[in-house]
């Protein structure tokens, strides 16, 4: 410990129980582990020094940003160091000529979005925790958001990374060039690696021009299939909306109880649709989306005429998680994802599972990209119910995989989904991942036990 203190100073090495307990968890329900210490690095060199020290001592290191992850990716390891990068929070360069921004890893995602906005640009990935999540955490988990269908996910905006390897080497991966095929695209290996291969210390991000306008629509359906068919028809009509969000019946009821916005409680499904871009195009696409929703049996379609009305309509989706989180002591937010064509099947299956296991599962999510959020409203102190939650989860993930989908669309594997991974991608893929990890982190000290067992 003295060596770490000599390296970083007493202020940046925490060891008291009152300091460690608040770092014993991330945003994932029911996971807790106290670390041996928490250290704060401010430069890549300090990160390298901490990693060299850890290698020398054989102590595991878990990198952490703001601790908002939903799969236990940044949960501490027993006896290990938590390397917190929240204080590496400088924006280094906003380059309006090349449409890029270079930031330190601990910069808050929202700050990047706001900065881009001030110069008429857009940083599209908007994960639900962006007000406090760090960009480093977003890259490590390859976070998504509401705009995935049209704009993609974090990976699509990472042009370069500074990475510190387990042995303390500091590398720059990628470049400012839109086209760059010089060697393996190793930066892509680090995106979504959940802190198991190295520590990301800087990120070079791509920005895009901000769309000039946006139009918001809200449609309600008395049949789930009608909502799913509407989504398919919109996409078949060559429209790529920037938002295509869905709420199921339980979610609608919880949102209405919470926000009182006048949603029909007998509706089976609700779709929030948005299109953005050139005003003329947006106008036309909104008209076509409205017509398609009506053709496919929407009970009501509301098109926002003003910005205030758009905000009001979007409230239904925006308050979904808050509304659900109030209903039960423990809220487990999952992210099973399927090809768009299988959405209706997946949603119906989830509802059946809930009935069969006597659970409350509300589903909402990103209908446009097939990324659903089946949300378990439960109580972690109720052991028999938690056992049923486990069974239900297994069935939901198995079914998603059977439909050609995946166990996680945007939250990562971490600890929470580790046991579902073999079923989803097979032992051969996991074997290759182990091989890769071994070559970069031979001692197995970087976030060990996450994604797969060593």
């Amino acid at each position: 410990m003295n060596e770490l203190i000599a390296l970083l100073g007493t202020e940046r090495v925490l060891t008291a129980p009152e300091d460690l307990i608040p770092y014993s968890f991330d945003g994932t329900a029911a996971l807790k582990q106290r670390p041996r210490c928490v250290v704060f690095a401010k430069t890549a060199e300090e990160v390298a020094a901490v990693l060299k020290f850890a290698s020398g001592q054989g102590v595991p290191v878990v990198t952490r940003g703001s601790g908002t992850g939903l799969s236990g990716g940044s949960l501490p390891v027993a006896g290990g160091i938590v390397l917190c990068l929240a204080k590496m929070d400088q924006v280094l360069k906003l380059d309006e000529k090349n449409l890029t921004v270079l930031v330190e890893t601990g910069v808050i995602t929202q700050k990047i979005a706001e900065l881009a906005d001030t110069v008429g640009l857009l940083y599209p990935p908007d994960p639900g925790s962006m007000k406090i999540s760090t960009i480093g955490g977003n890259v490590a988990e390859n976070s998504g958001g509401l705009r995935g269908l049209k704009y993609g996910v974090t990976r699509d905006y990472v042009m370069g990374l500074e990475v510190v390897l387990a042995d303390g080497r500091i590398l720059w991966l990628g470049s400012q060039c839109v086209k760059d095929v010089a060697g393996y695209s190793i930066k892509d290996v680090f995106i979504g690696s959940e802190g198991t291969l190295g520590v990301i210390t800087k990120v070079l991000l791509k920005l895009v021009p901000k769309p000039r306008t946006k139009k918001t629509l809200l449609a309600t359906f008395s049949r789930m299939d009608a909502a799913a068919e509407t989504v398919s028809a919109i996409i078949a009509d060559k429209i790529i909306p920037c938002t295509l969000e869905f709420l199921d019946k339980i979610t609608i009821k919880c949102v209405e109880d919470f926000a009182h916005i006048g949603l029909p409680l007998d509706a089976e499904a609700l779709l929030l649709m948005e299109t953005d871009g050139h005003p003329a195009v947006v106008e036309e696409e909104a008209r076509r989306m409205e017509a398609i929703a009506r053709q496919h049996g929407a009970d009501s379609v509301t098109v926002a005429q003003t910005a205030e009305e758009a905000t009001r309509l979007a409230t239904a989706r925006r308050s979904a998680f808050s509304a659900l989180a109030r209903v039960a002591p423990t809220t487990i937010l999952e992210d099973a994802t399927v090809p768009r064509s299988e959405l209706a099947k997946m949603i119906r299956f989830t509802q059946e599972v809930a009935v069969r296991h006597q659970l409350r599962i509300a589903t909402f999510g990103h209908m446009g990209d097939g990324n659903l959020h089946p949300t378990f409203l439960t109580d972690e102190r109720n052991a028999p119910e938690m056992a049923r939650v486990e069974h239900a989860m297994q069935e939901i993930f198995d079914y998603a995989v059977k439909l050609g989908g995946t166990i996680t669309g945007e939250h990562g594997v971490g600890l929470a989904k580790k046991k579902f991974l073999p079923g989803a991608i097979g032992e051969a893929s996991i074997g290759l991942m182990r091989q890769l990890k071994k070559s970069l982190d031979p001692q197995g000290l970087l976030n060990p036990g996450k994604i797969f067992d060593p």
């Binding site: 601790g67 204080k87 809220t331 109580d379």
Partner: protein, 430 residues
């Protein structure tokens, strides 16, 4: 500690960016979810209630910004009060000086309305005959021990007349459409009794008959927020009795009005505070139903616009934490300000970020309090406003102290005072 309230926290972290102490240190223990995790560790028997925990809970401002940000609706206000009460019961922070100061202020002065006003009277003469400015000019406070020296500039300027002298117990307008009780506060009664008169005037101008109980007690918020729950309950009972005595009964009133954000937030909580009191529980429920912040009440019955262009000032609005986060009242004060003809309202950046007053926080944690005050003053300067409107006596004192020390001639005024002035001017113009 109510475990189900603790468990409601899903540690998502959305409270972090709204917490002034986390923003300052970037340490989890200084954040709401960090503090809740410590409370939970104590409840689970993983940790003792330690001195460090006690210090942490007194480092928390209790601004409740986290409750606005929280998606899961965690009742942090309750956790905060219960934690501080447990800390006092356990005595982990006990020290002679702290105990003496707490006894003198929270337990002694603030539970004795007559004595408090007596001290206020002495302070008034000390200030009125120029002794205070003489003492300040001669730099005599420099001779005081550091802790007292830092307190001296915070001494409120006491008004010549207190509320009982300015407002009759019953004032009746014609026509009279509503009957309301008016709460005049404790420190507010000494430092801002004119605001209480303004509040009565504005209520009369809205056809409200006003009942103002004599010699009112502190609402008890300072007691509840500083771990003295029993005293807080005693204060609550006294206030209920006082209003009942003045108005005949609570049933006869359409509303009970508070004009102080911090007090109002606590006053609305009497139902919970007295829920197991055999005599007062039902009356406290009625009390909480009728308790309205003045802006809330006026917006509910319809704000009247003064006739003439009365105020040509550029005004910015600082939100009291317990008005915006505690009571979720944000729209109504702005509506009220916009109703004043000629007044230009400019938005203040971070208007709902704590100014560092936070009850007696500026006394207990002067360093952090100063940082927040400087941040607030910086934003106020950027608006170019000549008036900053604030609806809580603690905030107003804090802002006035800061502006005076920075030699800035910005006026601090309650929105209701600005409205009352506008009504008076309009009347003169008639």
């Amino acid at each position: 500690m109510d475990y189900s309230v603790l468990q409601q926290c899903m540690h998502c972290g959305l409270c972090l960016p709204t917490c002034p102490t986390y923003d300052e240190t970037k340490l989890e223990r200084n954040s709401p979810r960090g503090r809740i995790s410590l409370m939970r560790a104590i409840a689970d028997g993983e940790m003792e209630l330690t001195k460090a925990f006690g210090e942490e809970m007194y480092y928390c401002l209790g601004c409740l910004a986290c409750t606005t940000a929280c998606p899961a609706g965690v009742n942090y206000a309750e956790l905060f009060e219960v934690a501080r009460a447990d800390i006092e019961t356990k005595g982990v922070l006990s020290a002679h000086k702290r105990d003496l100061v707490r006894w003198l202020t929270v337990k002694f002065l603030l539970t004795r309305p007559r004595l408090l006003r007596g001290v206020g009277r002495l302070l008034y003469f000390y200030q009125a005959i120029g002794l205070q400015s003489l003492v300040r000019k001669l730099r005599l406070p420099a001779l005081l021990p550091r802790s007292l020296r830092e307190l001296e500039p915070l001494t409120p300027t006491v008004k010549r007349h207190f509320s009982d002298a300015l407002i009759r117990e019953v004032e009746t307008p014609t026509p009279s459409r509503y009957r309301v009780g008016l709460l005049t506060g404790c420190i507010q009664d000494l430092a801002y009794s004119d605001l209480n008169r303004d509040t009565a005037d504005v209520l009369l101008a809205h056809d409200c008959e006003v009942f103002t109980p004599r010699l009112q007690s502190c609402c008890g918020s300072l007691h509840a927020h500083n771990g003295e729950v029993e005293l807080a309950r005693e204060m609550a009972r006294r206030n209920i009795l006082a209003v009942e005595k003045s108005a005949g009964s609570l049933e006869k009133l359409d509303a009970i009005i508070s004009n102080a954000g911090g007090c109002g937030s606590h006053l609305k909580n009497y139902a919970h505070l007295l829920h197991d009191d055999p005599v007062f529980a039902a009356r406290a429920v009625l009390w909480s139903q009728k308790l309205k912040d003045i802006h809330e009440w006026l917006a509910q019955i319809g704000i009247r616009r003064p006739a003439a262009a009365a105020c040509a000032a550029r005004v910015t609005y600082h939100e009291s934490c317990h008005l915006c986060h505690g009571q979720k009242i944000t729209r109504q004060p702005r509506e009220l300000l916009r109703a004043i003809p000629g007044l230009e309202l400019v938005e203040l950046a971070e208007s709902n970020w704590c100014c560092g007053s936070a009850g007696i926080y500026n006394i207990t944690q002067p360093e952090m309090s100063k940082k927040l005050l400087d941040r607030k003053l910086g934003h106020i300067q950027k608006t170019g406003a000549s008036v900053v409107a604030s609806a809580n006596p603690g905030c107003s004192l804090q802002l006035q102290t800061g502006l005076r020390e920075a030699h800035r001639s910005v006026r601090v005024a309650h929105p209701i005072s600005l409205l009352a002035e506008a009504f008076r001017q309009a009347k003169r113009a008639e």
